[in-house]
Amino acid sequence: MRQALSSRLGRAGTGLHRLRARTAPAPEAPEEAGPWGPAPVIEVRALRKTYGTGDAVVRALGGPPDPAGGEPAGVDLVVEQGDYVAVMGSSGSGKSTLMNILGCLDVPTSGRYLLDGIDVGGLDEHQLSLVRNRKIGFVFQSFNLVPRTPALAQVELPLAYAGVKAAERRRRALAALALVGLADRVDHRPNELSGGQQQRVAVARALVTAPAMLLADEPTGNLDSRSTEDVLAVIDRLNASGRTVVLITHEDEVARHAKRVLRLVDGRIVADVRQAAADGPPPALRDPAAFAGHAPTALSGTAGGALR
């Protein structure tokens, strides 16, 4: 267990020994390497998030209170290694809240969240920053690039925080930018890039630390269809190479790239549809010709009908 943890966290620096100490007294944890294969990347149990107190309480995640128990059931979710999950739902359905908690940007009110086998709830501020840095790559709808900073420096930033040496950092950042097709734009600042290019820089920044999973909160929400295709192609290829991907979207066209589609309504998962096997290429790469031939509406039946 300890060895498994330390190897999973990689070079976690000073926080690592404390991390081990915290998680050690949970030997019954289901992520224990055993006959059932590797632990899931994400395991969420009875997750709830509320804002405010008393009458003014807003239940962002976990659904309405159970009439019998008085407490909402909460969200349960398991995402396996290599899966490609699209989370759909209307505004206010709690999908962004779920994503922020999965990305360790926000903390749940109650419930358990195991990321790659580590109980995130027991981590302190410093350990959380290590987790955000090494295990999660986050892509935002509004790109969220650091202003006035060239693309190369943007992508180098997570590596700098991880303590990677300058030469190695540059090499890996250039490789990540090449992967998203921006090798010729390394010196451009965010205001010199198109929206699609900015989002691809953000994707490069998210994947440069080789995180366990890529979280994308409506990555194509602010992009035209051409850029959407570019960004989704990058994400498809990442997933094909084994990276776990969770993305939020409104659009069926985006959701049909995923292997599994979840629908959230009022903070609860109401539908869970698998479109392809977790271990295998994503739908768009399995049979590109057939995928391109299908109209976007072809999937609406399985994905859960009208969304807007």
């Binding site: 926000d106 920053s129 840095n133 090494r134 006035r148 930033l157 700098a160 925080y161 303590g163 630390t209």
Partner: protein
């Protein structure tokens, strides 16, 4: 994440808004420079007063009539006389006294060739006066003891008096009329210069009996100038003077003296006390301007942090530890104060090379280090608060900030 990296981030942050960084730095610069210059001016003025007092000679003691401060000035006060001076000149009773010069002063109008000039101080004394009062003759010669014994009408004049009456011509050998009595000028004193309310160069020095005969009469003398054998002997000389004069004045009680002995030392300490107050006042003004500069840093750091909250959120979302965020903002504010303080030291040192309102500033080294250290400390402490606030934000809170 090494310190060099954090420093690079900080420089980048400052360079992103050059005008604002520059103005903040200017605030600190002015504060530090003000502290250095104002303290140097205060120090310079006290230095110049000290110098002019030292010019009078440190071995000199002045005996003047009248009791000490607060003593009753009863009718039994005996004036100082030439006999007192004679008694003090006796090496048997006062071994630490080298010379004694009784002195009478008056103010008279001097006339030469139709030019009239009111001399500030006409002094009648003995030749020992010149050495004791540190008056040196520039042209001509001093008058001699023989001139005193024979009451010759000769005079040594100060440089201001000489310029006013004779212009650029040498006054030596010329005759001028002082208060109706003709005097022959035998010498001109070197310029002393001074900061007092009285020009020490506007003076005429003549033999004691001549001045008494012509103006003041053979009564009491205004004061007696005594020179101790060495600077270290002034205290002993002071005691000897007291003993001798108590004898001549018939005083038994040492607390009821009718004369006063003052040394340059006591004058010096009074002056330096006054100057210390002056310096402290200037220092307080400067310290306030430094504080205002510090508040400027705090303000700018608060604005910067608020403006860049989103950026902080992004950085935290991609895994920046709290320490690095804290370090970056702390480094920014410290850099501001370090650069501002450094430039302030340079400006202060350059500024104190000029003469300000007639005072040559003398830089106090401690003020340079002190002002610089305070500026940097202000940067650290006042920058620490906004930096800490920024670093403590939860990533999602910071990201939602608009």
């Amino acid at each position: 994440m090494n310190p060099v990296e954090i420093l690079r981030f900080a420089v980048g942050g400052l360079a992103a808004n050059k005008v604002r960084s520059g103005l903040t730095m200017l605030g600190v610069l002015i504060g530090v420079a003000a502290v250095i210059i104002l303290l140097a001016v205060g120090n310079g003025s006290s230095q110049s007063v000290k110098d002019s007092i030292e010019k009078l000679g440190t071995n000199a003691l002045t005996i003047s009539s009248g009791g000490g401060f607060g003593a009753s000035s009863g009718s039994d006060t005996k004036p100082l006389t030439v006999d007192d001076a004679r008694a003090l000149a006796d090496p048997a009773s006062a071994p630490d006294i080298s010379t004694v010069a009784p002195e009478v002063t008056t103010s008279q109008t001097a006339v030469y060739n139709g030019t009239s000039h009111t001399v500030g101080q006409v002094v009648g004394t003995y030749p020992a006066y010149f050495k004791t009062s540190n008056s040196k003759v520039d042209k001509g010669d001093y008058f001699s003891a023989d001139d005193v014994l024979n009451s010759r009408k000769v005079a040594v004049i100060g440089s201001t008096t000489a310029t006013d009456l004779f212009g650029t011509a040498s006054p030596v050998g010329k005759k001028l009329v002082i208060g109706g009595t003709p005097f022959t000028v035998v010498g001109e004193l070197a310029t002393k210069g001074g900061t007092g309310f009285q020009d020490p160069d506007d003076t005429v020095i003549a033999p004691l009996p001549t001045v008494q005969n012509a103006f003041t009469g053979f009564g009491p003398v205004s004061q007696i100038l005594v020179e101790a054998k060495s600077a270290g002997a002034t205290t002993r000389a002071q005691n000897e003077i007291t003993t001798v004069l108590m004898g001549t004045h018939g005083i038994k009680d040492p607390s009821a003296l009718d004369f006063r002995v003052s040394s340059q030392q006591s004058l010096l300490s009074t002056q330096s006390d006054t100057n210390k107050t002056f310096t402290v006042l200037l220092g307080a003004v400067a310290a306030i301007s430094l504080l205002v500069g510090g508040i400027g840093i705090t303000n700018i750091m608060l604005v910067t942090v608020t403006e860049r909250t989103r950026e902080i959120g992004i950085r935290k979302a991609i895994g920046a530890p709290r320490g690095v965020i804290l370090g970056q903002f702390l480094a920014e504010s410290t850099l501001l104060s370090l650069l501002g303080g450094g430039l302030g030291v340079v400006a202060g040192l350059i500024g104190s090379r000029f003469t300000i309102v007639g005072i040559k500033p003398v830089v106090i080294p401690a003020s340079v280090w002190g002002a610089f250290a305070i500026a940097v400390a202000i940067g650290l402490f006042f920058g620490g608060y906004p930096a800490n606030r920024a670093a403590g934000l939860r990533p999602i809170e910071a990201l939602r900030h608009e």
